[in-house]
């Protein structure tokens, strides 16, 4: 562009007569006219600064039949339920609290638009962009991938707000009918909202990852089934808990916990979606791994809190195992990423020794990602070991300290082994192959399942199909080995433990060696042309008045 500032941009263009066609006609449309006085000025100011995707989606939604139909159906359902609930409860409604039944119905009705329609609309909105070939046009505009994803999310939130605002009078009626605490109504609304936000973020992520036609069809069906299941399950949970569960006791802790998990999971999903649609040279790994760290340690914190609150060692075992499953899941995606440290990313590599020691693992690359995940799981393991060792000092009930430590270490070794193996196998798959994430996930699942099944089958065959006893040969079997530790203690799995360490640590070492090239990369200079532009775009410092002038 030749113009230096937005004000100059069309200074002479407006004087240029059109090259072809008839003389221009005067367009009387608000888009091409400056807003008049009053609220329109503020509204225009707000809309100018809003994400363009939100503005576009809102306009499209208001013109679309889908929104009109789903919104009308929700309203009709709410009105019908209100009338029905009143009729059912008459005449006792005059003297017996009737809010409970009313609330249960409203929550069931609300869960369908919130947990099914809105997330699926967000998914379809992303898919349609690529089907209609508009995504390419948007992606090469000045909008960043992050703005596109955030715009889709914000449009879904806008719809959520519309639904919630519309149903607010219904919840007021519910409260006025008595029988339900205001806090309970709020808790249920918050849970529904959080679940809706999480499902929407997941839907956007699924749509961003599945860009191939076949994958889109499969993911559409799978997501629709998943959302239907979520809406139905949540409706059932709401109805059951409304009757049987008193929220007043520890509802707030659950709300805080769920809110924190949602607030840390949603950024991970959105950032992953951004990385999936952005240009490959951009470094999304750093931002994504920071978000992952926050999410994983948030899970750890709440897991520890629940384990301590439950005052059961089994809770500790459960959360250590859940941690392993979570890390294997996340790790399978991390080790299958096809990102590399591009020259663009190389411009931002840490320069100091400390920065290189701690920051390098946050840069793109499956090898660096594996080491990052290992570091994260090491931290997770240390935290559980510390809890087991320190808990008795603070009058917290942890009985089997040794077993918790053994299980933490065992899970750590399993992670190094299986995730490292998956990373090594993924090296054989070319980076240009699409669907690497799915492949990585399947590979990780197959490896773990093979680790369980193969030793069992081999030993069964050797024993003439008799039930074998646990032995060293079962060291790849996560399920049996962990079960053995929790039931009989560390002694019976000691040989397996040693064997696992014998395999896991060299696998980690090999992976570390293989990512040596990335570790040795150093920061490169910003190209001259870029430097030139950055300098030109920097605002000039205000002139300092000369005190002697």
């Amino acid at each position: 562009m030749s113009a230096t500032s937005p004000n100059d941009l069309f200074a002479d263009i407006s004087l240029t007569p059109p090259v072809v066609g008839l003389p221009p006609t005067e367009i009387n449309n608000r888009f091409v006219q400056l807003p008049e006085e009053g609220w329109r000025v503020y509204w225009a100011w707000l809309s100018e600064r809003a994400n363009p995707i939100v503005v576009k989606e809102a306009r499209q939604a208001l013109n679309s039949k889908q929104f009109t139909i789903s919104f009308s159906l929700t309203l009709i359902a709410v009105i019908c339920w209100t009338l029905l609930a009143v009729v059912i409860q008459l005449p006792s409604l005059y003297y017996v609290p009737g809010g409970m039944l009313m609330l249960a119905g409203f929550m069931v009705i609300l869960s369908f638009p919130m947990l099914l329609i809105i997330p699926f609309s967000a998914f379809r909105s992303m898919i349609i962009e690529s089907e209609e070939r508009t995504f390419e046009l948007v992606s090469i505009s000045a909008l960043s991938a992050r703005q596109i994803v955030n715009g889709k999310m914000a449009s879904a939130l806008l719809q959520t707000i519309i639904y919630l605002a519309t149903l607010t009078p219904c919840f007021v009626i519910t409260y006025l009918l008595r029988g339900v605490l205001l806090s309970s109504i709020l808790y249920y609304l918050i849970f529904t909202l959080l679940l809706s936000v999480t499902l929407t973020a997941v839907s956007i992520l699924v749509a961003s990852i599945g860009r191939a036609k076949l994958l889109q069809v499969i993911s559409s069906i799978a997501l629709l089934a998943g959302l239907l299941f979520a809406a139905f399950t949540w409706s059932m949970v709401t109805v059951n808990t409304l009757v049987f569960w008193d929220f007043a006791g520890w509802g707030l802790n659950v709300v805080i916990g769920v809110t924190m998990l949602t607030c840390t999971l949603v950024p991970v999903c959105l950032r992953s979606a951004t990385a999936a649609i952005d240009f490959p040279s951009e470094n999304h790994a750093t931002a994504l791994r920071i978000r992952l760290t926050i999410f994983l340690y948030n899970c750890l914190g709440w897991g520890m809190w629940i384990a301590l609150a439950a005052e059961e060692d089994e809770a500790c075992y459960t959360f250590i195992c859940v941690g392993l499953a979570l890390f294997l899941l996340v790790g399978s995606f991390v080790v299958s990423e096809n990102g590399i440290i591009s020259p663009r990313a190389q411009r931002t590599l840490p320069r100091t020794v400390v920065g290189r020691i701690f920051g390098t693992w946050f840069f793109p690359g499956a090898g660096l990602g594996y080491v990052y995940m290992c570091c994260m799981f090491t931290g997770w393991t240390i935290a559980w070991i510390a809890l087991a060792l320190l808990a008795p000092n603070f009058q917290m009930r942890i009985n089997e300290t040794e077993q918790i430590i053994a299980m933490s270490l065992l899970c750590w070794l399993y992670f190094l082994f299986y995730n490292g193996l998956a990373r090594l196998l993924m090296l054989a798959i070319p980076k240009t192959v699409s669907g690497r994430m799915v492949m990585g996930f399947l590979l990780q699942a197959i490896l773990v399942l093979a680790g369980v099944a193969v030793p069992m089958i081999v030993i069964s065959l050797l024993n003439g199909f008799r039930q074998p006893d646990y032995g060293w040969h079962q060291f790849p079997n996560i399920v049996w080995t962990i079960g053995e530790v929790s039931s009989t203690g560390i002694a019976s799995v000691a040989p397996s433990f040693l064997l696992l360490a014998l395999f896991a640590i060299p696998i980690f070492g090999l992976n570390l060696l293989l990512c040596g090239r990335d570790v040795l990369l150093v920061r490169i200079h910003v190209p001259g042309r870029l430097k030139e532009e950055i300098q030109a775009n920097q605002p000039e410092p205000p002139a300092t008045p000369d005190p002697f002038a």
Partner: protein, 319 residues
């Protein structure tokens, strides 16, 4: 944004493979500001792939492409701000009219307030869409949709415009109007890369041409340069009023005149010259004929058309 003063488009040994197919094979060329570069080639030659790489929609396997000095691989965000791309097959949103569509893209390119309104007004009048601004996109004709797409590509006043088959499916009037628009944009100082199958139009609107086949750029330069490279001689036709035989005999004695034929009062021959200024030598030949008092009615050089050049240079092979 600051212009660099270097070529607006630079392709540096670009390669793109799809399996065993070399869609783009070592392609390099440059386009300066104010230039229209025509990109010609048979179907599947690699034109669209090259354009998609330049538009940051695809990545090269080797090589790099620069737009205003910024790499499409490492700085696509900077490239996108400077670039308007009009694809061959483009998408539109349902439930939108032309104005809403352009307004959305104006916002997407970061235009706000007065700048956005000015850009919308200018684009609508420039593309002649102002009369149908509030018409739904789904009801637009092919020509109007092409105009809308051109409007979308130029709404942010980009320094570089890439137009992939812009005249495809347009009626003759719309083609002429599109050609005028393209030439107007070049006159505004924009660098344009245009691909088309309608070679006569490209020949008229382009300053430079690149002919690509099976992923390889087989010729590039101005239309004249390519013609001269292929045909170093000129075909000349002379219409005489009389005394044709004497004129033929005289022409035989002249340097550079070969393959002389006559038919009635018409003489045809090839004029070979190694000089850069062939026209000057041709003028001198005509002057000499007049001085010899030959009655010349018409003296015309018959150059090869772009179609002839294209047919001669390409083999029609596909990969």
């Amino acid at each position: 944004m600051v212009a660099s003063g270097q070529p607006m488009i630079q392709l540096r040994r670009l390669y793109r493979f799809f399996g065993q197919t070399r869609a783009v094979n070592d392609v390099s060329f440059e386009v300066n500001a104010g230039q229209v570069f025509g990109f010609i080639g048979p179907n599947g030659a690699g034109k669209t792939t090259t354009m998609r790489i330049l538009s940051t929609l695809d990545l090269p396997d080797y090589g790099d492409a620069l737009v205003d000095g910024f790499s499409v691989i490492n700085d696509p965000d900077r490239v996108r701000k400077r670039l308007g791309f009009m694809p061959d097959d483009f998408g539109t949103y349902p439930n939108m009219n032309c104005l809403e569509y352009l307004d959305f893209f104006a916002r997407s390119y970061g235009l706000i307030g007065r700048e956005r309104i000015k850009a919308l007004r200018h684009t609508l009048s420039y593309t002649g869409l102002d009369k149908i601004a509030e018409k739904s996109i789904q009801g637009l004709s092919k020509g109007m949709r092409q105009r809308l797409c051109l409007g979308r590509a130029m709404i942010h006043d980009p320094a570089v415009l890439i137009l992939d088959e812009p005249a495809n499916g347009l009626d003759p009037r719309a083609r002429i109007e599109l050609r005028q628009m393209v030439m107007g944009l070049a006159a505004d100082g924009k660098a344009l890369l245009v691909s088309s199958h309608i070679l006569s139009e490209l020949g008229e609107m382009c300053d430079c041409l690149g002919i690509i086949e099976r992923g390889t750029l087989i010729a590039s330069g101005t239309v004249k340069e390519i013609q001269n490279r292929l045909h170093p001689h000129l075909n000349i036709r002379v219409q005489m009023l009389g005394n044709t035989e004497a004129a033929v005999d005289w022409l035989r004695t002249q340097r550079g005149v070969v393959q002389l034929t006559s038919e009635g009062s018409t003489i045809r021959f090839q004029f070979h010259s190694t000089a850069d200024e062939k026209s000057r030598e041709v003028a001198q030949l005509l002057k000499a004929m007049i001085q010899q008092e030959f009655e010349v009615v018409d003296f015309t050089t018959e150059g090869k058309t772009l179609e002839d050049v294209f047919m001669q240079i390409t083999t029609g092979a596909v990969q």
